[in-house]
Structure formats: structure tokens, C-alpha cells
Amino acid sequence: MNITLRVWRQKSRDDEGRMVTYQVEDVSPDMSFLEMLDVLNEKLTLDGHEPVAFDHDCREGICGACGVVINGVAHGPETTTTCQLHMRSFKDGDVIDVEPWRAKAFPVIKDLVVDRGAFDRIIQAGGYISAPTGTAPDAHAMPVPKADADRAFDAATCIGCGACVAACPNASGMLFTAAKVTHLGMLPQGQPERAARVVKMVNQHDEEDFGGCTNIGECAAVCPKGIPLDTISQLNRDLLGSLASGNPK
């Protein structure tokens, strides 16, 4: 099939950026979306143009590196990562708009590549359990009810891709933050730091210039790992509890 792409090109952080139209011919329905971009890039290179920069690594939907907005939807029309989206989801002759995640907290570095360092800083603020190496008791010293373990696991599947931010009308990073708060908060090991963790992480989230969450739910709808919307409510519960029990803002 033949596809018309309109791709966001931006040379660097300071460049203005613009949509540029390209034709890609002979696209196979079995190609992944990124392989289609590879084909475009091979052609651009041979024509002496700079290839389109985009982030990617594992190409199997787990590292969270990839991610672009395709026709207005983060990661495109299927609920999966961009690297696991295949061209069979499109038709011959389609016009596809490809844009980077857009949020102040995720500045564009080049073309479709953005800087998601803000997520790492939210984790630094408290997204961990303090367990220095060598201090651990036997793994069976602390049984975890299966329901809690499963809930923690569901939240822990977040791959930090940032699609939630890209999709949120407020550019809020609340689903990502909530996923970590819920993962650690459901486990007995996570209890000692639970109240302080949520406050520190939300503070950092706000400092990074993400927007506030107004429960719109676009985030969960595009999340490739299906992090459920109620994790945000879990975060809110923890947050109110923590503030009420006198944890400093």
C-alpha cells in the first residue's frame, strides 16, 4: 500500500518545527509502524536528506522508549506501543499525521524525540523502597496476599512511555505517578514510606510543570499497558490520607 505521512520535523530544541509531507510506497501490512519509518528513513538518506529521528529500542513493547502521536492518538489506533502497531491497521492511501508527545515537561529534542527526564525525577523524589543491598530478610519472611500482589503487579507494568501525558488534555503525568504509588503502596514492604512517598512524588510531579488531573480518563484509554484509571483515585486516597495525618506539603 501507499501512505502519505505528515511528520513533525524540528531540528533542535530551539527550532520552531513544522509538519512535512512524505510519500511512502510499497508498505507491507506486516510492517510495524517503526519499520515503515525505517523505510522512509532509508529513502531520505539516499536522497541526501536527514532521516526522521524517533526514539525506540526494544521494539517489542516493553522498554517504553518509543511513542508518537498518530492521527491525534498517542501510540495510534490500537491500544499498544507504537513499535507494536502494524501497518495492517491502516489502509492504502491513508494520510497519517505523526507528532511527538507534546507537553512542557517533555521538551522536544529533535523531530519526534522528546526528553522524558521528568519521569525519572518523579521516581527520584520517592518512587522506591529504601532497601540497601544486603539488608534484606528472607524473601518468605513477609507473605503478600495474592490480591495485593496482583494489584501491585498491574500497576508495576507501567513502562514509563509517557503516552498518558501526551493524551491528557491537561498534560498531566498523574497516571504514571499513580502507577508507581500504587505498585509500592500495595506491598507490605512499601508501607513505611507510603505516606511520605505520595506527597513527595506529587510535589515533584507538580514542579515538573505537568498539568493537574481533572479525571478525564484519556490517559488510561491510551495506556499501552492498561494501567487502570482507578490507580489515580488510589493515589488521591493515599494523598488525602497522608495530608490529613499531618504529612507536610
Binding site: R6, G72, E99, A103, V199, G217, S233
Partner: protein
């Protein structure tokens, strides 16, 4: 951070007021006597512990404070969202996946509601705007006003805005207060829709009853 909680709590107060107010309005079917007594009763409530209109003023203060806090929080969130995705970083193509119309109209919808309330107070409380003729009886004020089609229309538009605002607002307040849990989301949404429909329709019954001549 407490912003969201304040928003939800003040929003909830406003919703409670609306429900009570709607219930009060339905007393119009009891005839002039009932309705005017009810209105007077509101003013006498709490006497002699409170002065005349004491309760009403407490309520007014709470409501006004709620609206102010609510609006302040809303505007702050609004500004934060604008900062979080500044003008230079808007999408060329953006499609919603599941987003509701109600969530889409929260901000301007809220503004419409407040403008309406001002108009509404001038109309039915102070009676400065009195299209159908002023009166000392609240019952008459209502009946006089709603015999005119464009007054009813203005209320219909306002109530549509209120309905949408509540549809997302109720759901959102519950989620913000931590009440959305796995498996509960669907029922919460149904409750929010139901409640906002009840409020909207409940409010619209009296004006239409007047317009159609059922209440005179």
C-alpha cells in the same frame, strides 16, 4: 496539591445546595401558599437562635465562599494546564479516545453557570430583572417570569450547562476524593449521569409547568 480536594469539596457543597434547591422549587406545585411559606421559612429557620435571615446568610456565605474557592481552584488548574502544554506545543491533529463532551466543557460551562447565577439572583431574589412584572411573592415572581418563552429558554440553556458540569463534576469529585475503585467505575459513571439528569429535569419542571399553564 490540596487544590483538587478543595475543588471537589466545594463542588460537592454546591451540588448539595442544588439538590435542596431543586426540591424547594418543586414545592411550586403546592400552590402560592406552600411556596411562599417555604421561602419565608427559609428566612426564619433557626430563629430565635439566629436572627431573621440568619440561616440564609450563613448559607449564602458558604455558597459564595464555595464558588470563590471553586472558581479559584478551577482557574489555577486551567492556567496550569495551559502552561503544561503551551501554545507552541499544541497538536496539529488531536483526537479523543473516550473523553466525554461533559469533561470537554467543564471550564466554559462553569463560567456560563456562574453568569447564569448572577442573572438568576437579579431575576428571582432581588427582582431587579423582572420581565413578567415584579412582585413581593416569590411564587408570583416565578410564575410571572416563566410565562415568557425566552426566560424559559435562558433557563433551559443554563440548566443544560449545569447538567453537563455536574455529569463530569460528580464523577470527578468522587475520583478526586479517592472513591473510584476497580470495578466501581461504571456504576459511578451511571450514578453521575443519573444524578445530573435528575437535577436538570427536576429544575426544568417548574418553568415548563408555568409556561404550559399548569401552574398559574
Amino acid at each position: 496539591m490540596a487544590l483538587k480536594a478543595a475543588m471537589a469539596v466545594t463542588g460537592a457543597i454546591l451540588v448539595l445546595f442544588l439538590i435542596a434547591h431543586m426540591y424547594g422549587n418543586l414545592m411550586i406545585f403546592g400552590g402560592p401558599q406552600t411556596f411562599d411559606t417555604y421561602s419565608a421559612h427559609l428566612r426564619e429557620l433557626g430563629e430565635p437562635m439566629l436572627p431573621y435571615e440568619g440561616f440564609l446568610w450563613i448559607m449564602r456565605v458558604v455558597l459564595l465562599a464555595s464558588v470563590l474557592v471553586h472558581a479559584y481552584a478551577a482557574v489555577t488548574l486551567w492556567m496550569r494546564a495551559r502552561r503544561a502544554r503551551p501554545a507552541g506545543q499544541r497538536y496539529h491533529t488531536k483526537k479523543s479516545v473516550q473523553r466525554s463532551y461533559a469533561s470537554y466543557t467543564m471550564r466554559w460551562g462553569g463560567v456560563v453557570v456562574v453568569l447564569f447565577v448572577i442573572y438568576h439572583i437579579l431575576h428571582l431574589t432581588t427582582n431587579d430583572i423582572a420581565p413578567g412584572g415584579a412582585s413581593a411573592s416569590p411564587y408570583e415572581r416565578v410564575v410571572n417570569g416563566f410565562q415568557i418563552w425566552w426566560v424559559v429558554l435562558s433557563y433551559v440553556i443554563a440548566l443544560a450547562a449545569v447538567g453537563f458540569h455536574l455529569r463530569h463534576g460528580i464523577w470527578s469529585a468522587v475520583a478526586t476524593l479517592g472513591g473510584n475503585r476497580a470495578g466501581r467505575q461504571r456504576s459511578l459513571n451511571i450514578i453521575a449521569t443519573g444524578l445530573s439528569l435528575v437535577v436538570t429535569i427536576g429544575f426544568l419542571i417548574p418553568p415548563f409547568a408555568v409556561l404550559l399553564g399548569l401552574v398559574k
